[in-house]
């Protein structure tokens, strides 16, 4: 894992949490949307907070897909679940809302879960499906004793 990869995981966490909270705040301003009145969905997008929330979530999706290109699903999901913790902490310290004991317990459990995978290898699966995968090419190159720079450009870092 390189510093840049940790940065991507942090980005997934922050943009996901920020997008969710901005979007839900915006949707509360817009009010209820009925399935029988679909044009109201389009009007909702005109609300600046809803639009910003969607934009943040688009960044989240791109970063999440980037992370999944070099890390396991069972690594990315727990690693980025700190977003729930961020939301609860921002509710407590920025919005000054009351956070119940059960929620603090939830924060402890999630942080513990993230601690369990921190430092473990990010990628364990083998890309058998696609022989053209650059990851696989790099692994083969490494096995066949290719020059070191070739391996690095293939992106096999742990």
């Amino acid at each position: 894992m390189t510093f840049r990869k940790y940065l991507v995981l942090a980005g997934v966490t922050v943009f996901g949490a920020a997008g969710d909270s901005v979007l839900s705040h915006g949707m509360k301003q817009v009010g209820n949307i009925s399935i029988h009145h679909l044009p109201s969905v389009i009007l909702a997008v005109l609300n600046p907070e809803v639009a910003l929330g969607i934009l943040l979530l688009l960044v989240f999706i791109v970063l999440n897909m980037t992370a999944l290109s070099w890390a396991d699903l069972t690594y990315v999901l727990p690693a980025t679940s700190m977003g729930y913790v961020l939301l609860a902490l921002s509710a407590r310290f920025i919005l000054h809302e009351q956070v119940s004991l059960l929620r603090w317990l939830g924060i402890v459990l999630i942080s513990g879960g993230v601690g369990f995978i921190a430092g473990s290898p990010a990628l364990t699966s083998h890309s058998h499906e696609d022989p053209k995968s650059p990851l696989l090419t790099a692994k083969d190159a490494a096995r066949n004793g290719a020059p070191a720079e070739e391996v690095v450009s293939g992106g096999v870092e742990s």
């Binding site: 999901l77 459990l109 364990t124 995968s133 650059p134």
Partner: protein, 126 residues
């Protein structure tokens, strides 16, 4: 009967979320390491590889089904039950699905992480 509807909805949301996550993860593994690919062949290669992968669209379709099921389930059940229950089940389901379909080595460490996070999410969102 209402309970059956709500839990049916929760299971449906979790199922389609897992399918979406697994398809997206598989698609991105087929695309390959985005950083390395970008550095070597440029951004356009990354974009064209991503949008030419059918698993991406199947994954997004599954996530869309999950999202609309969530909207419907919310009209039957309480947000404080539906959202955390579906999110927790998705975490556990993903661990099973990643082991079976993505051949990830889900060792004891990862199981514990998945269970702790699932429990934590249930408490936080509840």
């Amino acid at each position: 009967m209402k309970h059956a509807y709500i839990w049916g909805g929760i299971l449906t949301i979790a199922f389609f979320s897992v399918v979406g996550d697994v398809l997206l993860a598989r698609a991105m593994k087929q695309v390959g390491d985005v950083h390395a690919l970008w550095r070597r062949s440029g951004l356009w290669t990354v974009v064209s590889r991503v949008i030419s992968n059918p698993n991406i669209f199947l994954g997004v379709a599954a996530m869309t089904v999950a999202f609309f099921t969530l909207l419907f389930a919310l009209s039957w059940g309480d947000l404080s039950l539906v959202a955390p229950a579906a999110a927790s089940l998705t975490f556990i389901g993903n661990a099973f699905a990643a082991k079976i379909f993505l051949h990830e080595k889900v060792d004891r460490r990862r199981w514990i992480a998945a269970v702790l996070v699932a429990a934590g999410v249930a408490l936080l969102a509840g």
